[in-house]
């Protein structure tokens, strides 16, 4: 900023000219709520980054504690149910077996089983080898408790944050890309192109969003990439309409005509001249979409159409909540609710502030 001021210092009568972005940043900095929201969102992004890079939450699948342990602070507020273990079932079977067939134990003899020799060898080999390191379920307390398999809810929720943010951010980015590209083509060229793309748009919007989401996720396989694709494919329509209108408005402006006069190509006029003048709208659109997609992902996973078994997300965690609540295990849902509402609220407020800050008409 200083270099710019020196550059312009020659013309003392003219005040330093600032770009829309600089003005926007200045306005945002004055908005206390917006700034706080920005910090919260940044903190979440950092947490998600740590999750993606495996610095935090990477051991979420390890069974580190007893199943359904309440959070450390509330260790006396869990329901007083006794969790059965495999050992209990083993013992009960042993007991029943000894009653049932004390007389004649019919089993397989060696000649019945083509693998008898190999099985015996494998069993000896396994018995001789060092026993697998089995980490006994310990009683140590976890900050956010454990889930039905004894996994740390804190680790899970961090991993869930990473997934949900990844899905939200990249889904929104992809949707913006599709929407902007199609919107630009449609608004700039008009006529046949516009008709065709509008028809395409109408087809997409005529189907209810949720139905479209479910239809896409039913045909595609599981995984984060699929969820992102599905989200992007269903949510580009809003951006498309916006961009189409903006490009229609801008293409008749003087600066575009001037660019045309000096022989700028269509591509250059669309993306070098018009696009930079509408990007502030895209930023707002992007944050709106991110919030919506984080919520959509939760719904998809809740309905069982989201991420697979080896991944977790907020929605996948919430899907476990109804059965848990019935048994009085409230902490997993509480943790997800806390994280999710914090991020979604912060993101929504940030979007609001961004819109205020970037709208030139608001001073």
């Amino acid at each position: 900023m200083t270099s710019q001021t020196t550059l312009l210092a020659d013309d003392a009568s003219c005040p330093a000219s600032r770009s829309l972005w600089q003005l926007g940043w200045q306005r945002l900095r004055r908005d206390r709520i917006g700034l706080t929201a920005l910090w919260v969102v940044l903190a979440f992004v950092l947490l998600a980054l740590a999750g993606w890079l495996g610095l935090a939450g990477s051991h979420w699948r390890d069974e580190v504690a007893k199943p359904n342990m309440p959070p450390a602070l509330f260790k006396d507020y869990g329901p007083a149910t006794v969790e059965l273990t495999a050992a209990d079932i083993d013992a009960a079977q042993q007991h029943n077996t000894s009653i049932a067939d004390a007389s004649a134990a019919t089993g397989m003899s060696a000649e019945d089983d083509p693998l008898a020799a190999d099985m015996a060898a494998a069993q000896t080999q396994a018995a001789n080898a060092a026993p697998l390191a089995v980490t006994p379920a310990n009683d140590s307390l976890l900050v956010l408790g454990s889930d039905s398999r004894g996994r740390d809810v804190l680790q899970k929720v961090i991993q869930g944050t990473a997934t949900s943010l990844l899905v939200g951010l990249s889904g929104a980015l992809l949707a913006i890309l599709i929407g902007t590209l199609l919107g630009a083509l449609s608004g700039y060229f008009g006529r046949r192109t516009d008709d065709l793309l509008m028809w395409f748009y109408s087809v997409f919007t005529s189907v209810p969003d949720m139905l479209l989401l479910l239809a896409f996720s039913a045909v595609m396989s599981r995984g984060i990439d699929t969820v992102i694709m599905v989200m992007a494919l269903t949510s580009w329509t809003g951006t498309y309409r916006l961009m189409r209108a903006e490009f229609m408005k801008h293409k008749g402006r003087e600066y575009v005509q001037a660019a045309d006069a000096i022989g700028a190509s269509h591509r250059s006029r669309m993306f070098r001249h018009i696009l930079p003048n509408v990007t502030h709208l895209l930023l707002v659109q992007f944050s709106l979409l991110t919030v919506a997609l984080i919520k959509y992902e939760a719904i998809l996973s809740f309905l069982g159409f989201g991420v697979g078994i080896s991944q977790t997300s907020w929605g996948a965690m919430l899907a476990e909540a109804p059965a848990e609540l019935l048994q009085g295990y409230w902490w997993q849902m509480a943790a997800v609710t806390l994280f999710m509402s914090l991020l979604v609220t912060a993101f929504s407020m940030l979007t609001d502030s961004l819109r205020d800050a970037l709208d030139p008409k608001v001073k």
Binding site: A86, A92, A121, Q327
Partner: protein, 574 residues
């Protein structure tokens, strides 16, 4: 107040006519956790639709509600049928004076049940245009019927042709002639699928027979919102049926809600919006005190016992199993290394852990294809492999399933190894999948899931497109044959979902059909089970013990091992 009530009662008594005993003011509210599919006995085979069929239609014979073990008794017949010496000819004498429920299809006439109705109903299962899911029970069983089916080709069966196997001797006499003796024939006829339909009604509602069941049973379908609500009302034409001095049915109206999610189902019961309900898995520990030493030893939690809630338990006549598609190039086949792969997967699955965590101890492991309580079960046979992931890994090592650079095993020929398991999308499915994932992770084998609705997956499996899937089989009738046929080669792609084809097994199965229940047949069953254990087309699962609850005011509450419902016996005294 008192007076008024007496008056109402007198009027009600005067209004009630004939054998009608049901109190129309009594409403029994129950719920299904899976949607029904329809109510045409020849078109549906799911338990939930079957529960409705059971109350709308009358099979020739049924089960005694109170006798244990289950005992077949006459239903619409005067007595059990007379059977010829060779066990092939069954002659049924119908009770006269049994009438169908009033329906527009009868044009205002009172329509009596005749032997021809049963002949028609049985023939419908053979009609190629109906494509009955129960055809495996009747195909090739009746003398001379094959020619009739052949003549129909792909078109409708000619119901008017007289055939030797299904003959109407007079208005009330039906004679069924089998090609070969069958010790389970009466139990098969007791299934709701073989209830009598009226030809006029079926033809009148031909476009949608699933929505218009017209039968002679204790209830009629009053209202049906598919997948949402089914309302039954007492059949005003129902014959006089007295058991232990009580005229049935007692309750005038049955309302069945479909509640798929566990939590609302349980809350509806606790809040007395349902009179009878099973306990959903998630609520088991909330409802029952389970003894960790012996998880099958349970009692109601005090807060429910105090409300007078009644608990009934029964061990289902069922087995669950995870099957491998035996025709699949990766997991199927009878080469030693293929058996080793299946065996290793079975050895890595922590079955007792799932019984503890998912079933909450309310299940026992399966060790034999035939479950306890079904003729032919052998409690001494221990067919399930021992949980031993270390030995499973050693076994895979021995057969050349090498661990590659990516930490995953390859096939012995060096090709990548990846196994796909079919699964549903519910929360319970997810719990199971986590255990499967863990088992495959411990074996270092790549596992993927194929998600789908049950009927879609079932279709895919019939087309031989699945690799692995988990199923449950409940007894249609309490005989081992009903279970052993699950692996019979000729039933491949149908009831034999694993597509298991083993010549020796088939030979033994065919031999076992010729024998009555007894030591000789059990010997064959043992030999067949040994083949199943050796070839490992299945990973044995468990047999569930079901707990059902009823509120204090529900009377005559008792579960039956084979009947789906006991609504006609139940009374409400609020």
């Amino acid at each position: 107040m008192m007076k008024k009530r007496i008056l109402v009662a007198t009027i009600a008594a005067l209004a009630a006519t004939g054998a009608q005993a049901a109190d129309m003011n009594k409403v029994l509210r129950v719920a299904f956790n899976v949607p029904e599919t329809g109510f045409d006995p020849a078109k549906v085979s799911d338990t939930y639709s079957g529960a409705i069929l059971e109350n709308v239609f009358d099979p020739l014979v049924t089960y005694d509600y109170l006798a244990r073990p289950a005992k077949v008794i006459p239903n619409t017949t005067v007595a059990l049928p007379t059977v010829s010496a060779d066990g092939k000819v069954y002659t049924f004498k119908l009770k006269p004076g049994i009438y169908f429920a009033p329906d527009a299809a009868f044009k205002g006439q009172k329509r009596e049940l005749t032997a021809a109705d049963y002949a028609y109903s049985i023939k419908r299962h053979l009609d190629p245009t109906i494509n009955s899911p129960w055809s495996f029970l009747v195909d090739g069983r009746f003398a001379g019927v094959d020619a009739l089916v052949k003549a129909a080709g792909k078109g409708a069966l000619n119901y008017d042709t007289q055939v030797e196997g299904i003959r109407v001797l007079d208005k009330y006499t039906l004679q069924l002639t089998l090609n070969e003796g069958n010790y389970n024939f009466l139990q098969i006829l007791a299934m709701p699928a073989f209830g009598a339909v009226a030809r006029e009604a079926i033809e009148a509602y031909a476009s949608n027979t699933n929505a218009k069941p017209v039968g002679t049973g204790p209830y009629t379908l009053k209202e049906w919102k598919p997948g949402n609500k089914i309302i039954l009302e007492a059949n005003p034409n129902f014959r006089k049926l007295v058991i232990n001095g009580q005229t049935l049915p007692k309750v005038g109206r049955v309302e069945v809600s479909i509640i798929e999610e566990e939590q609302p189902l349980w809350l509806a019961f606790v809040n007395q919006q349902l009179d009878i309900s099973g306990i959903p898995q998630a609520a088991l520990q909330e409802a029952l005190v389970i003894d960790p030493k012996n998880p099958l030893n349970v009692k109601l939690q005090d807060k429910y016992a105090k409300q007078g809630i009644q608990l009934e338990r029964k061990k289902d006549l069922e087995i669950t199993y995870q099957f491998f598609n035996m025709q699949d190039p990766v997991v199927g086949g009878d080469a030693k290394e293929k058996i080793a792969l299946r065996r290793a997967i079975a050895m890595a699955f922590p079955r007792n852990e799932t019984i503890a965590a998912i079933r909450r101890g309310q299940a026992v492991p399966v060790h034999y294809v035939i479950p306890e309580g079904v003729a032919g079960h052998n409690p001494a046979f221990k067919g399930a492999v021992k949980y031993d992931p270390a030995a499973a890994n050693a076994l895979l090592d021995r057969f050349g399933y090498k661990v590659g650079a990516d930490g995953l095993r390859t096939q012995p020929d060096g090709k990548p190894l990846s196994i796909e398991m079919a699964t549903g999308t519910s929360g319970i499915d997810k719990q199971w999948n986590e255990y499967w994932q863990k088992a495959f992770d411990s074996l270092k084998i790549r596992l993927t899931f194929k998600y789908g609705k049950w009927n879609e997956l079932n279709k895919a499996n019939r087309q031989n497109k699945l690799q692995m899937w988990g199923l449950a089989w409940g007894a249609d009738y309490p005989d081992g044959e009903n279970f052993m046929q699950l692996l019979y080669g000729k039933n491949a792609g149908d009831a034999n979902s694993a597509n298991f084809k083993n010549a020796e097994y088939d030979r033994l199965f065919e031999a076992s059909l010729q024998l009555p229940d007894g030591a000789e047949r059990n010997k064959l069953y043992d030999a067949m089970n040994k083949i199943v254990v050796a070839q490992q087309p299945w990973i044995f699962g468990d047999t569930r013990i079901r707990s059902s609850l009823a509120h204090r005011y529900v009377k005559n509450f008792k579960l039956h091992p084979l009947l789906n419902t006991t609504w006609r016996y139940i009374d409400l005294q609020k």
